[in-house]
Amino acid sequence: MQLLAQILANGVLLGGLYALMALGLALIWGVLNIVNLAHGAFIMLGAYVGYYLFSLFHIDPFVALPVSMGALFCLGYLIQRHLLNLIARAPMFNTLLITFGLDVVLTYLAQMFFSADFRTINPGYAGANFTLFGITLPLVRVLAFLVAIVLTVALWLFLSRFRVGRAIRATAQNLGAARLYGVEPRRLYALTFGLGAALAGGAGDLYGVVSQINPYIGAALTAKSFAIAIIGGLENPLGVVVGGIFLGIVESLTALYVGPTYVDVASFGILVLVLILRPNGLLGAAA
């Protein structure tokens, strides 16, 4: 029982971070109809921003979070504005392919500038734990979880309360809707993509605190983000949180009861099953 509770807690903490990773992907997918295969590369870049701020300037990763997000926002904005807008009306396959190209290029550049070595962001409190009801909780994971939840709620508020946010949501239904809100579509697209990238950047910074990073972590993270976005559905950010936590728990349970090498079988197997049985997500409307 104790063990199960511990596993569940680990799963939930992991899941919060997963949710934040997937949030940007789901946003871009839902609004722009782009499945961004470079999403994992954005997360990876966000992690390196955090890493270098910490190792060169001793800036705490939680303080560096806005910088990671800002940097990735700019990158995402520019990419959409000057590249992806060029093919905004092309068949979906073209966008899939071009973001894959971006992924390859970004990964290559990262390896060139940052080297292929594994890195970690190791603040002094990295090893700290505390115990709650007999469950051990690593401090950084709890912090990362909390920040992830705060960011998710912030996104949700932004999309429902602000004019630009509402314009973004309206665009998900109808490409021309941006104009009704007085925003130029090209800018709105760029803003949305930038926002998605910023969320990836934030997730990356936190990921660097709880796990090792290198230039090649992107592909697996993209795949996981997909899985979560599919499980949670694209309609609202809270679905993604549930999807993330669900996947986190499944992975923790699989690792313990089946074996750590089966974690991917479980998560991607669930993804395939959900796709086949409930293409609108576990929480979405039935097909």
Binding site: A88, V105, Y108
Partner: protein, 316 residues
Amino acid sequence: MTPKLKVALAVAVTCALASLPWLASATILQFSISTLLLATLAQGWNIIGGYTGYASFGNSVFFGLGSYGTAIAMVQWHLPFGVGLVFGAVLAVVFALVLGIPVLRLRGHYFAIATLALSQVMTAIVSNLEIAGRNTGLVLPLLNGDPLFYELSLALLVLATLTVFWIAHSRFGFGLIAIRENEDAAASMGINTTLYKVLAFAISGIFSALAGGIHAYWITFIDPVSAFDLSLNVKMIIMTVFGGPASILGPVVGAFVLSGISEILSSAISSVASLFFGAVIIVAVVFMPRGLADVLRRFRKTGWRYFSENVKKYRL
């Protein structure tokens, strides 16, 4: 060109290619084998992705199944290579039938992602199988015969290309194209869409699996990560899209051109090849989304405007 002349030309080119082992150096021969295998993979992807319009990320699974089928048959059961190849192809067909039926019901992104996820699942499953050597993989018997591997690969590519030629001129292929263009309309006009899609997936899979089997025996060592490598699938897509999806020679030309350039680049500056691939995808998608085949067809009429018109058509 008259049809007869075309056939004569095709035969002449094939014969010329077949004589390469007597002319080329060992390095060039090795490069040629891998290029021929890539071209076969691209041609296989062309059937499901180009003609049928289903962007499969599962073709690297077929490649992996072919590799492992051959390796398991040869290493664990001590069967001859030919039997191994067939076993690998059978595995691919089984996969295409069993998983193709549910997954091919998904459209667009969803199909692409489901196949992508399947490839991850397969990698993980294989790396847990005792008979497949788990994480370490399998070592196949050594056969020093690059000329043989070359001729085999060439024969496979010719077979794949002939198949695509048949598809392009048959009722079956016409049905596949109709499915790509509008699946609901295709079904309402009497096309058995499920059967056609699954067949296309299986045929596409057989070629990938055979290429995988040849590759495994040639390279003599396979492990889960390299046999099910997703980037191989991406290469198939890029080569097909670059050359011209749903054309008969596009994927072959795409494979030859891109492999050639990346080989030259990577011998000049090592490891820049992947950057090159990424850049090619981006540029090709923006400026020539319908591939070289379409550029050749239209460029004469429109000139350089061809590229700007592509951008104009799709930009926001």
